[in-house]
Amino acid sequence: MIMSAEINLDHVLLEVRGMFEQYETALMNNDLGVLDRFFWHSQSVVRFGTSENLYGIDAIRAFRSSRDTGTLKRSLFKSIITTFGQNFATTNTEFVRDDKVVGRQSQSWVRFQDGWRIVSAHVSLIDYPAVSNPGNRNLSSPARES
């Protein structure tokens, strides 16, 4: 059970901030090896991306390596890291991409024996360029009823 005094302990915050920034650098450089190291190597890890939902480390790896261009360059803002005790943290950030699209990213981090790992992640966009859907149209004869 976490007590309020255990939230945002200085040394834990420092650690997780370091990981978070390293992850961001690796993402911008499309450094697949580093990105892979930061994810929990398990079939239970989940990453909801901007146009795909990926379940398990295999799916995430496959997706990363299939993207030749990597992620669009972006600047982060309003990044909030919160740590709970010694072994769990959440990171939430907003960002603006080079194409002016605004998005947000949430991650849950857990400290395992071999280091901090992302166990759950979600990236989504606002004002996502949606496919056009002009709504109802009047067409030729309506369906027969029987």
Binding site: S51, E52, F63, N136, L139, P142, A143, R144, E145, S146
Partner: protein, 465 residues
């Protein structure tokens, strides 16, 4: 249960547990259909009276404690080349509009009905099944639910649209050169073209006897496998139907890709695919841990031979009507039919012989692999009326070329499941999961694995649920 049931699996569970009645499920489906169909033009006839009376019978049977049916209270709809008792079988053709109604349900409908399915209606298609875009001059085009300005694919476009719009969880179509797989890809749903000769064609209007297949479309792999299993079984009334026992697939779905040797198809299947299509093929291959890439020798020739056989058989089939009632024919296909009726026998024979020879060489590939992967369509859904598609630096006429990647496979009757992936533009792109003859179980297991990984899914909008 927090959500009203939509998928077949959910409907069966909700009905069997008594939580929801078949009548409620039927009513909900009919409401969705009536609301969405004007914009889609997927349904040509909504058989509301039949849906509700079938539902009432099921509800009464449940009260009496009758045993549970495998497709109980599941709404479904069928391409309008299937015989439905009391309804004229149109096959999308003005030519048939004044024919007398069918006397009885076609064989597959009989099985779906017997399993507790609720028939919601009949669906639009390219006339005669000769097309890949469901742009039907007489009955109207069918619109893609993912983008109403785009084609739903064809010739089972009404089926693809009805399922993708969440109107019914299961739709039945036909596939001669791609007519189940193309709408599945363009609309973003799962589809299955079984092995040639697996499902009986009794009580459905033929197009190309040498190449016609029938099969299901659905929003989940579990539903797809369920519908397929219900429809299986030989039929002495269809001479093209193989005498094979039912080989159920549902129980094995969870095995996924365990033990399967998988390869991605390159060569022809990359050359005739745009960037989105090649991306889908590559990423599906990675997730399914495909060990290799291979090429099918002679795929371009196979497509040419399938094209010839299609033209010749359909032209011959319609020759009498062409002579007497040419004005009633679909303008998009009338000259294709006439030209087909002129094909010299020597060309047709050669195409048929090529088929056997090509099959032998492809079967050799299956000695090393259990599953092959390729995109289902060269491009994502074109706009309705779009005259050309672009593949690399080539511009090709849209209508005859949407089947470029499906034709070489259906030519030799291999079983294929299509799993929908989602491209960066927001439009779906299906991948073909191709297995050796009679191994629909492998196709479905692979589709299930893609679905489970999250890469593939039918994204039915929550408004439908």
């Amino acid at each position: 249960m927090s959500n009203f049931p939509f998928t077949a699996t959910e409907c069966i569970a909700a009905f069997n547990s008594g939580e929801v009645s078949a009548s409620e499920i039927a009513t909900a489906s009919l409401e969705r259909i009536r609301h969405a169909n004007p914009a889609l033009n997927a349904f040509i006839e909504i058989t509301g009276e039949r849906t509700l009376s079938e539902a009432r019978l099921l509800d009464a049977a449940r009260k009496r404690g009758a045993s549970m049916l495998p497709l109980a209270a599941v709404p479904y709809a069928v391409k309008n080349l299937f015989d439905v008792e009391g309804i004229t079988t149109l096959a999308g053709a003005r030519l048939y509009a004044h024919n007398p109604p069918a006397r009885r349900d076609g064989k597959l409908l009989e099985r779906l009905h017997g399993a507790g399915g609720l028939l919601a209606g009949t669906l639009n298609m390219d006339a005669y099944a000769y097309g890949f875009t469901t742009e039907n001059t007489h009955y109207g085009s069918t619109h893609n639910p993912r983008d109403l300005s785009r084609s739903a694919g064809g010739s089972s476009g009404g089926t693809g649209a009805a399922v993708a719009a969440g109107l019914v969880p299961i739709g039945i179509g036909s596939d001669t050169n791609g007519s189940i797989r193309v709408p599945s890809s363009l609309c973003g749903v799962f589809g299955l073209k079984p092995t040639y000769g697996r499902l009986p064609r009794t009580g459905s209007l033929p197009f190309v006897a040498s190449l016609d297949h029938l099969g299901p479309l659905a929003t989940t792999v579990a539903d797809l496998a369920l519908a397929y299993d219900v429809m299986q079984g030989s039929d002495p009334h269809d001479p093209a139907c193989a005498q094979r026992p039912v080989e159920a697939t549902v129980a094995d779905l969870s095995r996924g890709i365990e033990g399967l040797r998988i390869a991605r198809l390159a060569g022809y299947f990359d050359d005739n695919a745009c960037e989105d299509a090649r991306w889908a093929s590559h990423v599906a291959a990675k997730v399914l841990q495909a060990a290799d890439e291979v090429e099918i020798p002679g795929a371009a020739q196979a497509r040419a031979a399938a094209y010839l056989i299609t033209a010749s058989e359909s032209g011959a089939l319609y020759l009498d009507a062409l002579r007497e009632r040419i004005e009633e024919f679909e303008p998009h296909s009338v000259e294709r039919l006439i030209a087909g009726s002129l094909v010299p026998a020597a060309w047709y024979q050669r195409a048929q012989r090529y088929r056997r020879w090509y099959l032998e060489r492809v079967l050799a590939l299956f000695e090393d692999y259990d599953l092959l992967i390729a995109p289902a369509t060269p491009v994502t859904a074109p706009l309705l009326g779009q005259q050309h598609i672009r593949i690399g630096d080539r511009e090709l006429p849209t209508r005859p070329n949407m089947g470029l990647l499906t034709q070489p496979i259906s030519f030799i009757g291999l079983p294929v499941a299509v799993a929908p992936l989602w491209t960066g533009s927001g439009l779906p792109m299906g991948v073909q999961l191709i297995a050796p003859p009679w191994r629909e179980d492998i196709c479905l297991r692979a589709a299930g694995a893609l679905e489970k990984s999250g890469l593939s899914g039918s994204r039915i909008s929550s408004g439908a649920r």
